[in-house]
């Protein structure tokens, strides 16, 4: 297979990657075709290594686990049945069960994270104001130490609010620059650029912007588009230029 599907940091760990592979293959999480999924998983790890990305140890542990389960499932059933004859009631344990349970559990929280993200977005649409400085109303007579209703976290919290406030100061015109270059817009531009170039362009050509911030936005836009399966990145061999293509069925037929 000479198409390397560059996914990079689009995954939050081995469980996330496995879930992605399972969803993409449209298979039942309760009956995972382990040979197929393991192959795809190994292929991904391989790609990461080709791109010289650090493959976190968790990914390698999972690779080992998958291979172990795969080999266990290949064990001839009949031999086992011979021994199990007298224990008819003992149900054969599926070697995939533990992994399956972890995936299901992880999927629940991933779902919850999605919901939180939605809520975060909605909340981001309403603005409040910095509390007024109430100190003019403090009566400055008390000299005795007194009981104070504040913990150290309240103090840190207050400092945090200060940082936030500084970040969202009303901009003096020039500050708007960053807003002019949102990821969504860049994603559209990339698709547009691909359409103009018959669906294929060089990865490097996407980065004709000079400024660091713009480079990063472009890079993040490419990641987002790959995650959304709008584009695919191909690299024919190590260190050769990566080409970026529109995600189309024929991409795979070739």
């Amino acid at each position: 297979m000479d198409i390397y599907n560059v996914k990079l940091d689009a995954f939050e760990g081995p469980l996330d990657l496995l879930l992605h592979l399972i969803t993409k293959a449209e298979v039942d999480i309760y009956d995972i075709p382990l040979a197929k999924i393991t192959d795809q998983y190994m292929n991904y790890i391989h790609t990461m290594q080709i791109l010289e990305l650090d493959v976190a140890s968790e990914y390698l542990v999972m690779a080992a686990t998958l291979l172990a389960i795969k080999s266990k499932m290949l064990l001839p059933k009949q031999e086992e049945e011979l021994f199990n004859d007298e224990h008819d009631f003992v149900e054969e344990e599926d070697p995939r069960e533990e992994l399956m349970n972890r995936l299901i559990e992880y999927r629940r929280y991933k779902g919850a994270a999605e919901t939180l993200k939605e809520k975060e977005k909605e909340r981001g649409l309403i603005y409040s104001r910095t509390p007024s400085d109430l100190s003019p109303y403090v009566e400055e007579v008390k000299q005795e130490p007194q009981k104070i209703n504040a913990s150290i976290y309240d103090m840190i919290d207050a400092f945090n609010q200060l940082l936030k406030r500084k970040q969202q100061k009303i901009p003096r015109k020039t500050k708007i620059n960053r807003e002019d270059f949102p990821i969504e817009k860049r994603m559209e531009e990339i698709i547009e650029q691909l359409n103009q170039m018959n669906g294929k362009t060089s990865f490097y050509q996407l980065f004709h912007y000079q400024e660091r911030g713009q480079l990063i936005v472009t890079f993040l836009a490419v990641l987002e588009l790959m995650k959304a399966q709008k584009i695919i990145c191909k690299q024919n061999n190590n260190f050769s230029d990566i080409s970026v293509c529109r995600w189309e069925e024929e991409t795979f037929v070739k």
Partner: protein
């Protein structure tokens, strides 16, 4: 004695000066020297009034306190003037970690990592530094691992009144069937032992 109109005006002023810190019913009651029932009534009255008029602000309940905020539908206009407060939204790693903490608190780092399947020190640190998560205690015994829980800022960040308002965690699907089978077996065994 103040009349209702005046009391509502003072509540409005209190909401205004409290800004994003918000103010709770008890504080309002103390300031106006009236009882909580009355505060509740005045507040819901004021909230209704804000709703029925074409206003630039609304009163919302967040993290157990009342806050005066702008309206969602006006966001496009404010975006032209101010950097969005939540423009620095949370990373996927932070969101996953936060979801686990929110539903399973109090919880240790090791337990979070078991569910996510990856090291989670960085997202936890980032959540702590954003005051969305905090240390709420220690596990007893050796090691005394830190237990994490969510903060009031967490509720505010996601527009929640309280933890009870968290949307239900997605179901494990077929779980009910399994549980029922388990329950059946358990009963069966109990019966067998009894006899």
């Amino acid at each position: 004695m103040l009349n209702e109109m005046e009391m509502k005006a003072i509540i409005e002023g209190l909401l205004f000066i409290s800004g994003e810190e918000g103010i709770d019913e008890k504080q309002i009651a103390d300031v106006l020297e009236i009882d909580i029932v009355m505060v509740k009534e005045l507040l819901s009255n004021l909230i209704e009034q804000y709703r029925s008029e074409t206003r630039g602000m609304q009163i919302v309940e967040l993290a157990g306190v009342y806050q005066l905020t702008t309206k969602q539908e006006h966001a496009p206009y404010f975006k032209r003037l101010i950097n969005s407060p939540n423009s620095a939204t949370l990373s996927q790693a932070a969101l996953e970690t936060l979801a686990i903490v929110a539903y399973k608190q109090p919880i240790t780092r090791a337990e979070i990592e078991e569910i996510r399947g990856v090291k989670s020190e960085r997202p936890i640190q980032s959540l702590v530094s954003k005051v969305l998560v905090k240390e709420v205690g220690r596990v007893e015994g050796t090691g005394r691992a830190i237990l994490y829980g969510t903060t009031n800022d967490f509720l505010d960040h996601f527009g929640l009144k309280s933890l009870r308002e968290l949307p239900p965690l997605p179901e494990k699907e077929d779980d009910t069937a399994l549980e029922e089978a388990d329950l059946f077996f358990q009963r069966l065994q109990e019966n067998l032992v009894e006899n």
